[in-house]
Symmetry: C2
């Protein structure tokens, strides 16, 4: 396979020069788009949508038909992996994701096994392949998984919330917690490598809940497993390097440690100033983020102002930054505001590079 | 009034030497205690409980009857203040706090006024006075308020959640956001000063949601107003200094700035290592915190182990630390586990001081 026509996103992740700052958005295929709501309604439920490769492909491409985004992301859910491990995922109307069989008993934890992604998660691999074909070499396709810790939070709790059950286990039965995390790490590694085989050109690990740990517990129960996964990922496919991104929500205090896990890029939530993050770790990894998703609810003028401020804060550099939100697009976002954001990022980052070149020329 | 018989808590906040590390717990009077649930049931509802000074006094004293805690806190809710501002607080069974009249229209925002705490919040002042009398000089009584930003999140949203409405306002209509925050800051200052007049011996500001802001927005929309309040607080009552504590949940990245707001102590959530926090700001303020509340769900052995690790991490010092959780006591906590924690803190911190003296003696 060849490199996509627009490989700006991949080059920025590998800290190679780019003409402008590439942008994609977490949850860019989501409920703020009426066409996504229509697709979901046609599927009958969110889970059926996730299990239909053709509808996943349709959803993944919808934001790209509207906005000149620089990457697509596979349409799926992080909890399909524990579902494939036999936990029985379902979505209740107002309570979000639930598992029929939460992982609470020692016997069930000892019996937990790594699923074959080409078998139990065949539908994801088919969605990857179909989406990649439909992109027709336009922009790169991102694969993803939840982190071992984040998945374990849901698996032991049996759903969302404050995850008291897994946090109690960490203090009471660290041996069982490590057993789950170890199986999860192997499962995630195989799952992401299968996505790479099936056609994704970059991978992202969502550590959405690691930030609810103490620093010591974060190192032991989340970061250690992120490291294992990154070390086990296929680094190349067809001669192309496959960059990896770790989204460490709430990890601002621990950026240096996370940046040393072996990943190519760090995804930042919006609580850390991107300039400060760059000074702390920007020589080591690319940075992805980190506009407050609430900005997209505000006026176009505010969106342009905040976008420029963020690009200014990152500072003069012609690479190493992928623009994104600090979390997923809110379903309250007017779709046209995403268009304003994408245009502002592309235009202003080109201008900054122009100014930078002019300054360097004079010096 | 005289100083309480046990003033360890007050001395630790003012960084004067103490014989052991004092401890109290956020939400120490809460649903994990069956006697609290009985009091609440007798009141009929949470809001009626908050509005009954004698039941508030009863609830505030319940944890002290069980455990040798070093401070009591007034039993109330941060949202009684916006209720007194006319927003109409009520609690729906599963959705938590709601306001009948969320603050969304410019006219209502312009009309927002500072309530007289001795009038509209008389029931809180009566609860303070009755609780102080009932404590009979045993341990100090803490008064509290939500921060202007945290209160505004609820006031504009009309309840809990992700606070999209106020965050949108910050970007779209910063003038209106500042108007609300400015009224809130005056209201909080008067409210806390009225609590001091009524008998509290320390005050705490809960900035529970400031951590959901960007760094720049945090400075402008939360920290600036905390500073105003601290500057406006009565510093003394009857010749006794009244220490102030700012609980900055999610503020680990900004500790230095928060520590410079003029408060005597910083309340920490559990995501920051208390030793690291002490190195960053411990010469400036006392620290309060920060055990992960999930530890209290684990075995007594785990509680003792984690408690000692935290006291060791704070390091050798005979003052400047008030032990607490990094957030409120979970309702899932077995009450006897709180007893284990309190004993572990008292015993181990005495032993550390002993070791420290021995070491100093030898040197």
């Amino acid at each position: 396979m060849n490199r996509p026509a627009n490989d700006t996103f991949l080059r920025a992740l590998l800290r190679q020069p780019t003409e402008y700052t590439p942008i994609w958005l977490m949850r860019q295929a989501g409920r703020y788009l009426p066409e996504y709501c229509a697709t979901r309604a046609r599927a009958g439920s969110f889970l059926r949508l996730c299990k239909s490769p053709s509808l996943c492909c349709e959803a993944a491409l919808q934001p790209l038909a509207r906005f000149p985004l620089d990457a697509a992301i596979v349409f799926s859910d992080i909890l399909t992996l524990p579902d494939a491990m036999g936990l029985g995922l379902f979505f209740s109307e107002n309570e979000g994701p639930r598992f029929e069989r939460p992982l609470r008993e020692e016997g069930a934890i000892r019996a937990l096994a790594v699923p074959d992604p080409h078998d139990r998660l065949r539908y994801v691999m088919d969605a990857v392949a179909e989406t990649r074909r439909s992109l027709a070499g336009s922009v790169p396709l991102i694969g993803f998984s939840g982190s071992p810790f984040t998945l374990a939070c849901y698996m032991v709790e049996g759903g969302g919330g404050e995850f008291w059950h897994f946090k109690k286990m960490i203090y009471d039965r660290p041996d069982l917690a490590h057993r789950i995390l170890s199986v999860n790490a192997q499962a995630v590694t195989r799952y992401l490598n299968a996505q790479i085989e099936s056609g994704v050109e970059a991978v992202m690990l969502f550590d959405s809940w690691g930030g609810c740990l103490t620093e010591a517990a974060y190192r032991e129960f989340s970061l250690a497993y992120l490291q294992r996964i990154v070390a086990g990922l296929a680094r190349e496919k067809d001669g192309q390097r496959i960059p990896s991104i770790v989204f460490a929500r709430g990890g601002g205090l621990w950026l240096e440690r996370i940046a040393a896990c072996g990943c190519d890029a760090l995804g930042l939530d919006w609580t850390i100033d991107v300039g400060a993050a760059r000074r702390r770790v920007g020589e080591r990894v690319a940075l992805q983020g980190n506009l407050d998703p609430a900005v997209l609810l505000a006026s176009p003028e505010a969106i342009v102002r905040e976008t420029r401020a963020l690009l200014d804060a990152f500072g003069p550099a012609d690479t190493g930054h992928v623009f994104n939100l600090g979390h997923g697009v809110s379903r309250l976002t007017p779709p046209e505001h995403v268009g304003v954001l994408v245009e502002a990022v592309h235009d202003y980052s080109r201008r900054l590079r122009g100014k930078n070149r002019a300054r360097c020329g004079k010096a």
